[in-house]
């Protein structure tokens, strides 16, 4: 670590006085690109690791979609790659469950938690609040490396003889607590739990840093109500993570005890393979409470950063101020609070007291209020705007579309009575993939297209961006929309072969269709990946510091900012970030003092 960097790490508070020391300084390859403490490099590390995991997790979904679409066909190539797991070219049941489990775990935690908020919290927080780096660059680096090791442990579980965990991404006991239950419940589950513990440490270290940085390191004039919305979203995301991940850790620890030391926290009265187990008095529902106390906030941990970035991108690209800044803050806050009060809606049919269920129905439906406020504000932001349809703007609009479609089906599922029919069907799969999975992925992609020039000093190719967008949005709807119909008819999720039910045979062709579309969408993502990696080295160079004509501080840095972000003083902030189309001017950066004759917003 060079001397100048140490200076502002040791005394970040007075970083502003050390600006003149932030010139060029030599760093070795290792300290610059591998064990880097620069928030921008760490953000890129999170992003690229996230992309790698997204390809793996996406590939798994394509493989199990093959089974769902073509349950009777054999694919010898699968046996070539997966050996005994795809004996005779057909996916074996254990392998199918492992694939589903890994797909969920990877996408929820590694891609949409670490890959999304890890990337953009790191890149955007210091740049948009006007700080040289995070409050603790060292903890920030640790956060990435814990994530990396968690990934290595998870990846290693794919290569053990008995295969990776296969109890679903929720890892419900008693199934997940008993080695005798199956191959996936052997070493694979232990590796899953260890990997998740490491992942939780990574998220906590990251979250602590994001909160402290936002509250303590803002530049002069950057009051909380002048913060760009992505920062507010990252703030609430970090608060949710810091308060809910430790509870998941407690749940996981108790599960590790049950698995390895013979306790009975979750186990009671079990007969397995003819053997009567001695465990008594445990409660499997207890795990579900602990799990979903994290699990539901986790949904918003995934969604809020996307919401924040979409707000910013829509405002910049429609050349209009964000509609209802304070309402956006209020609704983010309301969602963050409600996120902690709705976890039991995942347990309506798990033996929950029906009266308690009705309380959770009410609280769940209340989330529709802040969500509707946000949707209204996004639509009114682009309403009659001078919209520039950049790929980032398209993905942001796509996010709003998906959020509306997926949010509406949430109202169905939030009702405990309707849930009796819909629980554990493909309807649920359709709902959460659209509203949480694909929507957040769109927010993430919008962020990548929008901030790529800041990250690498080059543009992504627009034409490839447009192709990527249209294939992905059409494909996403064609994949998940039909699943609603399947779910309404009662088709269960998680089943590898439904041909035993005569009445579900009508969906055979539909399943084939979904499988084909999902493969096309998967392949289309390589358009983006090729675009991404090609543009890092060969993309069109950014020539102006502020290519999108945006107001926020990251565009006041040099085109390729060094460690420390600003070469001179950190700019001072004089206004909120959304002065677009004001007093006949297209945009007024946050750094410009308020003029005497300027109208109020």
């Amino acid at each position: 670590m060079s001397e100048t960097t140490t200076v502002h790490i040791a005394d970040a508070k007075h970083a502003t006085t050390h600006h003149e020391e932030h010139g060029h300084h030599q760093q070795s390859f290792i300290s610059k690109y591998i064990f880097s403490m620069d928030h921008k490099t760490i953000g890129k590390q999170f992003l690229i690791t996230g992309i790698v995991w997204a390809v793996i997790g996406g590939l798994f979904s394509v493989i199990f979609r093959l089974q769902l679409g073509y349950p009777d066909t054999t694919f010898p190539i699968l046996e070539t790659f997966f050996g005994k797991w795809a004996k005779g070219g057909q996916i074996q049941p254990e392998f199918y469950y492992s694939l589903v489990t890994m797909h969920g775990t990877i996408l929820v935690f590694f891609v949409l938690t670490a890959g999304l908020s890890g990337t953009f919290a790191n890149i955007l927080i210091p740049l948009q609040i006007g700080a040289r780096d995070m409050a603790s660059p060292f903890l920030n680096m640790l956060s990435y490396w814990f994530f990396f090791i968690a990934g290595i442990v998870m990846a290693s579980s794919i290569f053990v003889q008995t295969g990776p965990a296969s109890s679903g991404w929720t890892m419900y006991p008693p199934l997940s607590a008993l080695r005798q239950a199956g191959d996936g419940q052997k070493i694979g589950t232990d590796l899953w739990l260890i990997s998740m513990a490491l992942f939780i440490i990574s998220s906590l270290l990251g979250g602590l840093n994001y909160i402290t940085t936002i509250l303590n390191m803002r530049t002069k004039g950057m009051s909380m109500t002048r913060l760009p919305l992505p920062i507010w979203a990252m703030f609430f995301t970090a608060v949710l993570g810091v308060l809910s991940f430790p509870v998941l850790l407690s749940g996981a620890i108790l599960l590790l005890f049950d698995r390895n030391l013979g306790t009975s926290f979750y186990l009671s009265d079990i007969v397995i393979n003819g053997e009567i187990l001695p465990n008594e008095g445990g409660s499997a529902i207890l795990y579900q409470h602990l799990f979903w106390f994290l699990g539901h906030p986790e949904v918003y941990i995934i969604l809020l950063p996307a919401m924040g970035m979409v707000s910013e991108i829509l405002s910049v690209n429609s050349r209009k101020p964000i509609f209802g800044y304070m309402a956006m803050l209020g609704s983010l806050f309301a969602i963050a609070i409600l996120a902690f009060l709705v976890w039991a809606h995942h347990m309506f049919v798990a033996g929950l007291n029906p009266f308690l269920g009705s309380v959770f129905v009410l609280l769940t439906l209340l989330i529709a209020v802040p969500s509707a406020i946000k949707v209204f504000n996004w639509l009114t932001t682009i309403w009659r705007g001078n919209i520039r349809f950049t790929p980032a703007a398209l993905f942001a609009i796509g996010f709003v579309s998906l959020f509306i479609s997926g949010g509406l089906t949430g109202i169905f599922l939030g009702n405990s009575t309707i849930d009796i029919h819909l629980h554990d069907t493909m309807f649920v799969v359709a709902h959460f993939h659209i509203v949480m999975g694909v929507a957040s992925m769109f927010g993430m992609l919008a962020g990548v297209y929008h901030w790529f020039p800041k990250m690498y000093g080059r543009y992504l190719n627009n034409t490839l961006g447009y192709i990527h967008f249209w294939v992905t949005i059409v494909g996403a709807y064609l994949t998940f929309w039909p699943m609603h119909y399947q779910g309404l008819a009662g088709v269960p999720r998680r089943y590898l072969d439904k041909s035993g039910w005569v009445n579900f045979n009508q969906f055979g062709e539909l399943d084939k269709f979904i499988t084909v579309v999902s493969m096309i969408v998967f392949v289309a993502q390589f358009i983006f990946i090729i675009n991404f990696f090609y543009s890092i080295y060969k993309g069109r160079k950014v020539r102006t510091a502020n290519p999108w004509g945006a107001n926020t501080l990251e565009w006041t840095t040099p085109i390729n900012p060094g460690h420390g972000n600003w070469e001179g003083d950190i700019p001072e902030v004089h206004r909120w970030p959304y002065d677009y189309g004001k007093d006949g001017r297209e945009f007024i950066p946050q750094t410009e003092p308020v003029g005497a004759s300027e109208s109020k917003h």
Binding site: L208, T212, E280, G281
Partner: protein, 194 residues
């Protein structure tokens, strides 16, 4: 407007040190973890097969030890601020040893329980006790590690350190695990024995 910005600047200088702030958030996070564990305890205690646990008296000794260590670390910080490095070292090492003694006494408590046939078998207060007290001891061990680093630094570092921030952070954390222990002890006295 200018007035307002000036006020904000004043506010910045009065702000808490970022590292201290990080610690406070981290402690909030730890509170959530122990809240998760103890609420799981309460949920479980209303179900069949629950067995209460009688705390061996050695846990009272460990309570006295950890309370003492909070006193010594408080005095250590005062010595540091008075630039009395010899006294600081001595009190920090005393705290460290008291911390080690605390963990040792917890281990003795576990052994006493094990002799009383409270093992990992079953699903009563005893099993929770092993998990919760064990996890607390792990966090005390983390504090001991931090103290070890701080004490070593006073011997190794050539440059004198005048910033009391690292010590203050260690002190706050130490008081935190102390308070956490008091909470856990009272919790087990109230809910664990019935």
């Amino acid at each position: 407007m200018i007035k307002k910005i000036e006020m904000e600047n004043n506010a910045i200088t009065k702000k808490m040190h970022p590292s201290k702030f990080t610690l406070w958030v981290a402690m909030g996070s730890l509170v959530m973890m122990f809240a998760g564990l103890t609420s799981a305890f309460i949920v479980k205690s209303n179900q069949t097969g629950w067995k209460p646990v009688t705390l061996p008296s050695v846990f009272w000794t460990s309570t006295v030890v950890i309370l003492l260590s909070s006193g010594t670390i408080f005095l250590a910080l005062r010595s540091f601020k008075e630039r009395n490095i010899a006294g600081y070292r001595l009190l920090m090492i005393a705290t460290l040893l008291l911390g080690v003694a605390f963990i040792g006494l917890q281990w003795v408590g576990f052994e006493k329980l094990w002799e009383q046939q409270v093992t990992f078998k079953g699903s009563g207060a005893g099993q929770f006790l092993y998990v919760i007290f064990g996890f607390h001891a792990l966090h005390v061990a983390g504090g001991i590690l931090a103290l070890l680093v701080l004490v070593t630094k006073t011997f190794v570092e050539k440059v004198k350190i005048y910033s009391s921030v690292p010590t203050e952070i260690a002190v706050t954390y130490w008081h935190f695990v102390d308070l956490l222990w008091i909470y856990l002890l009272i919790f087990f006295l109230v809910f664990g024995q019935r």
